[in-house]
């Protein structure tokens, strides 16, 4: 607790906090989104983005613009910012930022294994991986055919080794198993991250634990809803729920027994924050989907993180907000490119 006092924060992380707050001020506002929505072509989009913090990031792209190029360039800018912050950070901020990259590593591993399963050459899969989650042994992942081999040959030297403890088995890697591995890895990662933030204490623990608890509960809800109608048994499902959220232990037990959407909604009814999200969510046109409501709540929590000073939560929140912004811009770009503007307003406004 003493180490995290406000007096000593600026010695190691003052520059980075100032940098992140500066970046955060450049996040697109509602006015920007209103302008973007009025674009007729992708070139107009590029022209408008030139006047924002993005500047001339698309200036050197030859030929006509594609949505995939815009997506790549947006991500590249974010990656450069994050890597600069990681390079300039001291402990414990470095470990904190490393923890953030582990989630991307998990996604990359699953992507590569799935791709190998579908006989794609490794050179085609590597460009699709997220740059923040790359590690040395990533490209040699296709030598493994069972989780045990995957652990012994590849993952044991990576920082993900401790998360893999629950997943080692001798069964072959197939579609179902891969999803289970993904969720088990993510559960172990989330719980480890939660514990790490809790140990840091102070304002970091305040903001991060709230955000991570919501993330855990959101995953629990999504896993439950997506598992209706699949072969996943209730016991297996219960093993995938992260335990660091508000739902632990009673809510998770109830969710494990749920059979349909209505039961899930009733479970959410016991928790005031989540009952609000489930109300009014549906798949009818004009209503927001549950995923959108979750995104909105996440954006709210992340914006709140900036209200406090001298903590590490702003780095995590900034990354998440920028990702949401990228998703928004790509959504609008897709609608503009396909000239189908009916749902163009389905972005999540941030500022």
């Amino acid at each position: 607790m003493v180490l995290m006092t406000e007096y000593q924060f600026n010695i190691d992380s003052g520059y980075l906090e100032g940098l992140v707050r500066g970046f955060k001020n450049g996040i697109l506002t509602r006015a920007d989104y209103l302008n973007l929505v009025q674009c007729e072509t992708l070139e107009d989009l590029k022209l408008h983005l030139q006047s924002t913090d993005y500047g001339n990031f698309l200036a050197n792209e030859p030929g006509s613009l594609a949505v995939a190029t815009i997506d790549d360039k947006l991500r590249e800018k974010l990656v450069i910012e994050f890597q600069h912050m990681r390079h300039m950070s001291y402990e414990p901020l470095s470990t904190f930022l490393d923890f953030i990259t582990y989630s991307y590593m998990i996604d990359n591993i699953i992507l590569l294994i799935t791709g190998t399963l579908h006989q794609r050459p490794i050179s085609e899969l590597i460009p699709k991986c997220h740059p923040l989650g790359s590690f040395e042994q990533m490209e040699a992942i296709h030598v493994a055919s069972t989780p045990a081999e995957l652990y012994n040959a590849v993952l044991v030297d990576t920082p993900l080794a401790p998360f893999f403890v629950d997943c080692i088995s001798e069964k072959d890697l197939d579609e179902m198993n891969i999803e289970i591995i993904r969720n088990t890895l993510y559960k172990a990662f989330l719980e480890a991250f939660y514990k790490f933030c809790e140990d840091l204490g102070g304002a970091t623990a305040d903001t991060m634990c709230k955000i991570l608890a919501f993330e855990a509960d959101r995953r629990a809800f999504i896993i439950t809803i997506n598992s209706f109608g699949t072969e996943l048994t209730k016991d297996d499902r219960a093993k995938l729920y992260p335990r660091c959220g508000l739902l632990y232990p009673d809510g998770l037990a109830m969710l494990a027994r749920a059979d349909d959407y209505e039961q899930v909604k009733s479970v959410a009814g016991y928790y005031s924050e989540y009952s609000v999200l489930f109300e009014g969510a549906g798949n009818n046109p004009g209503e927001k989907t549950l995923e959108d409501k979750f995104f909105e709540h996440e954006v709210e929590l992340n914006m709140l993180a900036f209200m406090q000073q001298f903590h590490y939560g702003i780095f995590y929140s900034y990354l998440r907000l920028k990702e949401q912004e990228c998703r928004n811009i790509v959504w609008i770009a897709e609608c503009v490119a396909q000239k189908h503007k009916a749902k163009i307003d389905n972005y999540i406004p941030i500022m």
């Binding site: 302008n35 009025q38 674009c39 007729e40 070139e43 107009d44 022209l47 408008h48 006047s51 200036a59 050197n60 030859p62 490794i122 040395e136 042994q137 490209e139 040699a140 992942i141 296709h142 030598v143 081999e149 012994n152 040959a153 590849v154 044991v156 030297d157």
Partner: protein, 492 residues
């Protein structure tokens, strides 16, 4: 001199320009540099304005010029700043320029692609040569053990009752297969570790470093690499080893088993390397020639494209009249320059060949006009210094002319050293005398640029410092006694 003590009188004018003449009129006004246009279309989005397409074309031309400039930078060709000011090209000349840039860009891209393919080939051959050289040592010991063994085995074969094809299988079982390859040095430790783990320790690897760094064809960086020799037994391990090599981007090459074959291969590879080197040097020459030819005009092209872009940006600020016949613009001009502005507009309409004269209409307004201080290269530094504290209001007293004396004097009061003042004056004098040469250089250090912009300021400060040092009798920190003491004892 009257205008030095306060800012100039400004007039708000409305310009009515005919659509065809607008381009040339704005170009003439741009050369004059006396008008500050206001944005009439403030509520319009940037992509809804009239000349958006032309601005986009200019941006595309700038992109091509930037590409050319980076290519020249890679080859180390310097772009000369000739210091001339080319005229603004007409809108129809824009198409010619676009065609030229396009042609240069495609040609350069083609040459680059060819060079990349050739470099890739060269890299493979170089790596193969290194493999053949380095593995010589490994195989000598390997073969040394095997040679007597092989001789024994062949004798055994002749004398054996087992049919020849079966005995060949037995030979293979005891025989170690090997793979030869090249991997970059920084990937070597994780590669070895993964090989050990994945094959459960059943493969044997020997490495040797390549001293000279090899050039990567795509990025052009020089990478240090190592030669690998991996020995394994059995087909399964072979596929596993291949997969891992592919994962760590180690390039595998076929390496023959016997020493004689290796010698022959080495000769062949050296000959091919020599051929490739000549082809590569020719490609490089061609590319160099193309870039040098383009570099002579690059600076002019940059200025022309920038001028066109600036004109279209300015035209975007104008309002198109309802009858579509003329453009309406609003701008501030200094009152003494009204004549020259009208002359410039007339020149513009003559150049475009239309007969309708442009109209400049004075508007009366209650708005606060902008402050315009006319400066030359000497007074600009002092004016900037004063503006850093705050720009004076319209027609307010301008402190800058007084600053020319007071600022250096106060500085010298604190500095007050004859010797150090001389050094400072000489430095500033050198910058002032070599003004033109230093201004032409593009890549000046940022800190030096700060001093360069204030060279006249430094000169004044230095001169005053010499004077004050003289008054303080201080030279390089040591006291000077030139005039003797002025102390007089007055009591008897």
């Amino acid at each position: 001199m009257g205008s030095l003590f306060r800012s100039e009188e400004m007039l708000l004018c409305q310009f009515f320009l005919q659509s065809e003449a607008a381009y040339n009129c704005v170009s003439e006004l741009g050369e004059l540099g006396s008008v500050q246009f206001r944005d009439i279309n403030r509520d319009m989005n940037s992509f809804q304005r009239k000349f958006v397409n032309e601005v986009r074309r200019c941006a595309e031309m700038e992109r091509k010029l930037r590409f050319l400039e980076t290519e020249m930078h890679k080859d180390g060709i310097e772009v000369l700043d000739s210091g001339e000011n080319p005229d603004t090209p007409q809108p129809k000349d824009m198409i010619d320029m676009e065609a030229t840039f396009d042609r240069l860009e495609t040609e350069l891209l083609e040459v680059n692609a060819n060079a990349e393919a050739l470099n890739q080939n060269f890299l493979e051959l170089t790596e193969l040569k290194q493999i053949l050289l380095k593995t010589q040592g490994f195989f000598n010991e390997h073969d040394g053990n095997l040679e007597p063994g092989e001789a024994l085995k062949s004798e055994v074969k002749k004398m054996s009752l087992i049919p020849p094809d079966l005995s060949a299988q037995e030979d293979q079982q005891g025989q170690l297969g090997f793979l030869a390859g090249v991997i970059s040095r920084d990937r070597l430790p994780p590669f070895e570790r993964m090989l050990w783990r994945a094959c459960r320790g059943n493969v044997f690897i020997r490495t040797n470093e390549i001293e000279t760094p090899l050039k990567d064809p795509i990025t052009g960086d020089e990478v240090h690499k190592c030669v690998l020799l991996i020995f394994y037994q059995g087909e399964q391990l072979k596929t596993l080893v291949r997969k891992i090599c592919e994962g760590f981007r180690a390039n595998l090459y076929p390496c023959p088993e016997t020493a004689n074959e290796r010698q022959d291969m080495a000769m062949g590879v050296m000959a091919r390397i020599e051929d490739l080197k000549t082809v590569l040097s020719q490609t490089q020459d061609h590319r160099h020639r193309v870039l040098v030819a383009a570099s002579k005009n690059l600076h002019n092209w940059w200025i022309k494209v920038r001028k066109i872009k600036a004109i279209y940006h300015t035209l975007n600020l104008f309002n198109l009249d309802v009858t579509n016949k003329c453009l309406i613009a609003e701008g501030w001009i200094p009152a003494p320059e009204m004549e020259s502005v009208q002359l410039a507009l007339r020149r513009g309409t003559e150049r475009s060949g239309t007969s309708v004269p442009p109209i400049v209409n004075r508007m009366s307004t209650r708005e606060n006009p902008p402050t315009y201080n006319r400066t030359n290269k000497f007074t600009r530094a002092f004016q900037d210094l004063v503006d850093a504290y705050g720009v004076a209001a319209y027609r307010e007293v301008n402190p800058a002319p007084y600053t020319i004396i007071t600022f250096p004097f106060l500085y010298a009061t604190m500095f007050g050293d004859f010797g150090h003042g001389t050094i400072m004056t000489l430095f500033a004098l050198w910058m002032v005398l070599n003004e033109k040469k230093l201004q032409a250089k593009k890549k000046l250090n940022e800190i030096f640029l700060t001093f360069f912009h204030g060279r006249y300021l430094l000169l004044c400060m230095g001169l005053f410092a010499i004077h004050n040092g003289h008054m303080y009798n201080d030279c390089f920190g040591k006291p000077l006694n030139i005039y003797g003491s002025s102390f007089r004892v007055n009591y008897k």
